[in-house]
Symmetry: C2
């Protein structure tokens, strides 16, 4: 499982204040905390306005990489901010995100190609939010083909089938899970990623839904996720799922995590 | 999800003592506790020796049904004990279990047919424990055909693909999950059941493994399980999974469970 730590997101007031104040100690601490518990990428989302996001993103990426030995997931809806983040990034970044929308597909693919970055692509096109699993699989295939046409292989492409709240639309959990299974079958070798918290939006007992959803999605073929890696219960589910799928030789990592007190009973 | 409550099992000393002492109050209490939290069947496993199991099973089934308005899962490796349980059972029982072993397939199928009972069938034949998912699917197909030949339809047949400990054999979790997916695809309409605790035998942090495994197996098509329904964390996973699969209209059952304090955060 590839874990993208999402604690550095400007939609949080505390993070936004730190970005605006150029509080590098706070950002560095958040980056190190996430790296220490096993995040493979540190997400950087400035979440500030168009007047300053380009500058903020460059500062964020540099500050994170000065503190933590990890690549950054450069996260913005703005191509300008993505470009600014890529230009200062050391090593292979992960871009978050392209979509299949006409305005956003080609520009972001070109950025990824130019900088040799890996890429998250949302199953979203100009016809609006996908409803069914099959809708998502169809868009994923188009995204994969478009990326391949640009020389970006499946090993560098992360499809995000867009988890949406079951509290808003009852059938969106099963639609997502069917999408994961369908993409895993149709596009072997591709990565499948999602943000975990949307699924439970407006629902009670959200953590239970998030961790049950994570286990179910991994069973269907999800191999990457964006969440707060300091949430020990989600990290424990990943550790358990790896052992259950035979991806943890002799279950040694699971046993180590147990001994270190990182698993609950 | 069909839940078989497994608290009345003679391998527990406390239960065995109650059976031997004909302590109907204790057995009745265990039956009612399980029915009250939502068990659909109450498992009755006398676990006593061949000299007395027939008599014990009849007493157990009567005692459970006197106390709780639920059918019993009559659970024994002995055809004689199964028969004794069936003979006193009111309504449609669940027999646990047939296998594809020559000594156990036909006699138990005949018992189920004669009493109109539903039936759990283990994917086990005379060649020993199945190793792979494909082995289990092949045996499940033979069991389903044999049951159909006796007039027992898929709606009354519960295939148990035999969860075995990942602590003993690393690849048994994925083998089980592949079996569930394969059986769900090959035999639409059949039930797939398992005991939950074997998967984590000899492992630490067993409850985490059990509930993660349950969520993953439900995602693959498991629709019944044998476990202690007083384990609130497993019941909570089932409640969450039903909501995530769109089987809980408007998530009302999930919200009700939350309000009743039956879900953790």
């Amino acid at each position: 499982m590839i874990i993208v730590g999402e604690r550095i997101n400007g939609t949080s007031h505390r993070v936004r204040d730190a970005i605006v104040a150029r509080d590098s100690d706070f950002i560095a601490e958040q980056a190190v905390l996430q790296a220490d518990v096993g995040a493979h990428y540190i997400d950087a989302n400035a979440g500030t306005g168009p007047d300053r996001e380009v500058e903020d993103m460059a500062w964020l990426v540099e500050t994170i990489q000065d503190a933590a030995d990890r690549p950054v997931c450069v996260d913005s809806a703005s191509a300008g901010a993505l470009k600014a983040g890529l230009e200062v990034h050391q090593g292979q970044a992960l871009l978050n995100s392209a979509t299949a929308e006409e305005s956003r597909q080609q520009p972001v693919l070109e950025l990824a190609q130019a900088h040799g970055a890996r890429l998250i692509a949302l199953t979203l096109d100009d016809s609006g939010l996908p409803k069914t699993g099959a809708d998502r699989v169809a868009i994923a295939k188009r995204l994969s083909q478009a990326a391949e046409d640009m020389g970006i292989g499946r090993q560098d492409l992360f499809i995000d089938p867009l988890a949406r709240s079951i509290g808003v639309e009852n059938d969106q959990g099963i639609a997502f899970l069917e999408a994961v299974a369908g993409i895993r079958e149709a596009l072997p070798g591709i990565h499948i990623i999602c943000g975990l918290s949307n699924i439970s939006y407006q629902m009670p007992s959200r953590k239970l839904l998030n961790r049950t959803f994570l286990a179910m999605a991994i069973a269907k073929g999800l191999d990457a996720a964006i969440f707060d890696p300091l949430d020990q219960s989600l990290m424990a589910v990943i550790c358990a799922a790896q052992a259950l799928l035979g991806r943890d030789e002799m279950c040694m990592e699971y046993i180590r995590a147990h001994r270190a007190g990182r698993l609950e009973q």
